[in-house]
């Protein structure tokens, strides 16, 4: 595949790995958080840890839309299907997220009541949900919209399209969240702040999110927190190069926002997409994140002008907080305080087949990525 294989070249990788080994100082550790689940997936899938010297430790951040979705939000979606009889359209990832009462969207789909109207469909894009609504005019169709800034503009677009079409049977359960507040929350957490138990020496900044918002929104990280940020693409060579750039910044005592992903990201980002988001969405006063808790102004809701397409308003449902499993460490793992293997449930009670916490659900989740791609390393450490 042109324009993809070039970024997965094994020879270039070993060259970069050698460069990293050359610049790494023997007397210190480098702890970098890759914010994005996409990077977590790349690191696991290509086995990047094997190419890095032991001084470099990658901490998997919370940038996986499924992992930060609280139980109560999935409950809302299931209530819409069961109580309001809507047809729910969801991306693949949220389907297996555990909800209350041992349910998930997948289980609700298979469970009783399907014949009497419960209908949950997996879609690949927001546009598919709009199509479902147009094909089923007799049904109320709700899009479970999740994701960071990457998936938000398409949601905005379908809401505008639905308005233009005068669709009366389409609405959106908006669970879109924002990247910069989540980064700030991690850097502000007591474990990470100076003297805390977890140090973070730098951040690998998001790839696709940054194509939308640009690199500017991360500048506060460099300026206020004195941490370097390197925005990186999702291909393995991108990640390796970003790590090299971070190490060089740390060694030089610099804290700047650098852009490794310059083939797709600019400082300003995609203005058109940003305007579209601003037109349709506004900030929520507060949003409950799984693992990070209630974060002020960290998520989006649909503006009043588009109220009729807001499923929360149309069906008058409210978010109700639900406690996570008491032994689940997703919260600590999302903040980088614990590693997946330090959770008592990991690989015993909690597996990709039977996920307890959301980090085990998506292949971008820290636990699932470690379970599926890297758990042999734990066993080798023991034996």
């Amino acid at each position: 595949m042109r324009f993809i294989d070039e970024f997965r070249d094994g020879e270039l990788a070993s060259g970069l790995a050698a460069a990293i080994r050359r610049v790494v100082r023997r007397d210190r550790e480098y702890r970098f958080m890759e914010f994005c689940g996409g990077h977590t997936h790349t690191i696991s899938r290509y086995g990047l840890s094997d190419l890095l010297p032991h001084q470099v430790r990658m901490i998997h951040g919370p940038g996986c839309p499924v992992c930060v979705l609280p139980i109560g939000r999935i409950d809302m979606a299931i209530r819409l299907v069961r109580d309001a009889g809507v047809m729910l359209c969801s991306y693949g990832d949220p389907m297996r997220v555990p909800a209350s009462g041992g349910l998930s969207l997948l289980k609700a789909k298979a469970g009783p009541g399907r014949a009497s109207g419960s209908d949950i469909r997996m879609i690949y894009s927001a546009a598919d949900a709009l199509l479902v609504a147009r094909q089923n005019p007799q049904r109320q169709v709700v899009l479970l919209a999740i994701g960071f800034e990457t998936t938000t503009p398409p949601t905005a677009l379908v809401i505008k399209q639905a308005q233009a079409l005068g669709l009366g049977n389409f609405s959106v359960l908006c669970c879109h969240v924002l990247t910069p507040p989540a980064i700030a929350s991690i850097l502000d957490s007591p474990e990470v702040r100076q003297g805390g138990s977890v140090g973070i020496d730098g951040l690998v900044g998001p790839a696709h999110v940054s194509t939308i918002i640009g690199t500017q929104p991360y500048e506060f990280v460099a300026e206020q927190y004195r941490k370097p940020v390197v925005v990186a693409g999702f291909e393995p060579l991108d990640v390796m190069q970003a790590i090299l750039m971070l190490i060089e910044q740390v060694n030089a005592g610099r804290a700047l926002v650098e852009n490794q992903f310059s083939r797709a990201v600019t400082r300003e980002g995609n203005r058109k997409a940003q305007n579209l988001m601003a037109e349709v969405f506004e900030l929520r006063r507060s949003f409950a994140w799984r693992g990070l808790g209630d974060l002020p102004f960290s998520a989006l809701r649909i503006r009043r002008e588009f109220a009729e397409f807001d499923a929360e308003r149309r069906f008058a449902i409210r978010y109700e907080a639900v406690a996570d499993h008491p032994a689940c460490e997703c919260g600590a793992i999302l903040r980088g305080v614990k590693r997946p293997s330090q959770c008592r449930l990991f690989a015993s009670v909690c597996t990709p087949e039977n996920p307890v916490g959301s980090c085990m659900v998506s292949s971008e989740g820290a636990c699932a990525a470690h379970y599926s791609f890297g758990r042999f390393a734990d066993l080798e450490r023991v034996s």
Binding site: M1, I4, R8, D9, G10, A13, S14, A17, G38, H41, S44, R45, Y46, G47, L48, S49, D50, L51, P65, Y91, G92, D93, M95, R96, L106, M122, Y124, I146, G147, F148, T150, T151, H208, P236, P352, E353, S362, S363, E364, A368, Y371, S372, F373, G374, R375, F376, L379
Partner: protein, 349 residues
């Protein structure tokens, strides 16, 4: 006019006609459907006996039996359809344990309203596949379910074969140092189906690899190579098949990502949907575990057969109490190739 039911003056309308509940009632309509649509296409001496069961000659050896339900959607896809798939699937299940496939039985669950023209197409495809493979459909059954209770047509095929005692292969015989061979490029069936199902225009060129493998497998046996395990990597793909074998044999495996044969269009479609070709279904490929000293000989025999031209050694077996299947990535790292979890769901961003 019907031979056994003269009361049916009018032949089946294969152009406009549709399955209705009377076709499953067991009455004349059923008999007419069987005779004019099924027997006429699948026809052979055993099916023609018209009895409730076929009485068949049996060569010496041990009896091998397998059954497989086919519920694919869409029913027609590039490279094949549910009809030939149902024939190939069961023949392959027999062949990979070392059997010579002899006979097939086929059961159809038809949905009310299903076009007879589509059914005829499917049965013709089945007949062609069975005839090409030299394995006749000797008995069958049809049932009709109400509209909405099925997805057009489901086909279950059961196969019977024979193997010389001691010649059968089993999944528990892989040993450390053995080589792992795959007979050709992977992931084509699954991606052909996905491309149709999800309307991926750019992936329209991907055709299913559905094929009967007993010819290739006979050539592999004839090579004299010490084959330990043979399996067709269908649902769950090569990754799942290798995990099954690793567990059954109590060994670990190490694959080389750069050695995996994947066609560029399959790789591209997988990339687009966030899928991994290792987990995508194949219907015309075989995975072989072979003694290290015989790997080259087996590879040569496979490459000499039309269905094995792209055969490649993709890894090796080693001792591992945890039975992990691992892979050295093309990038130089290492990762687990785990069991498939749930369905292989695409990632969203």
């Amino acid at each position: 006019m019907s031979r056994t039911h003269k009361a049916y003056v009018r032949p089946l309308d294969l152009r406009q006609g549709r399955i209705d509940m009377t076709h499953g009632s067991g009455g004349r309509a059923t008999a007419q459907l069987i005779e004019e649509l099924f027997v006429r296409r699948l026809g052979n001496a055993y099916l023609g006996q018209g009895n409730d069961a076929a009485v068949l000659p049996m060569p010496p050896g041990r009896l091998v039996m397998s059954t497989d339900a086919h519920v694919v959607s869409p029913l027609f896809f590039p490279g094949g359809d549910i009809g030939c798939l149902a024939v190939h699937g069961t023949i392959n299940d027999l062949a990979v344990v070392g059997a010579t496939p002899l006979y097939l039985a086929a059961s159809f669950v038809l949905e009310e309203g299903f076009p007879l023209s589509d059914l005829a197409r499917i049965v013709e495809s089945m007949a062609a596949a069975a005839s090409a493979a030299g394995v006749p459909v000797v008995t069958g059954d049809t049932k009709v379910v109400e509209k909405g209770s099925g997805d057009g047509v489901y086909i279950t095929t059961t196969g019977v074969g024979v193997v010389t005692e001691g010649d059968e292969w089993s999944g528990d015989r892989a040993r450390p140092a053995d080589r792992i061979i795959v007979s050709g490029s992977i992931g084509e069936h699954g991606m052909a189906i996905m491309a149709q199902r999800e309307n991926l225009g750019f992936a329209a060129a991907i055709a299913s690899d559905t094929a009967a493998l007993h010819g290739l497998i006979a050539a592999m046996r004839a090579s004299g190579a010490a084959i330990r395990v043979l399996r067709d990597p269908t649902r769950g793909g090569v990754a799942t098949t290798l995990n099954e074998i690793a567990c059954q044999s109590g060994v670990g495996m190490m694959l080389q990502e750069s050695a995996l044969p994947v066609r560029p269009e399959v790789a591209a479609a997988c990339e687009f949907l966030g899928l991994d070709p290792l987990y995508v279904a194949n219907e015309g490929k075989v995975v072989a575990i072979v003694a290290p000293e015989d790997a080259e000989r087996l590879l040569a025999a496979m490459r000499a057969h039309p269905l094995g031209r792209q055969a490649a050694v993709i890894g090796s077996v080693h001792q591992d109490a945890h039975s992990f299947v691992q892979m050295t990535t093309a990038f130089g790292g290492r990762r687990i190739v785990d069991w498939l979890t749930g369905e292989q769901l695409p990632r969203i961003c």
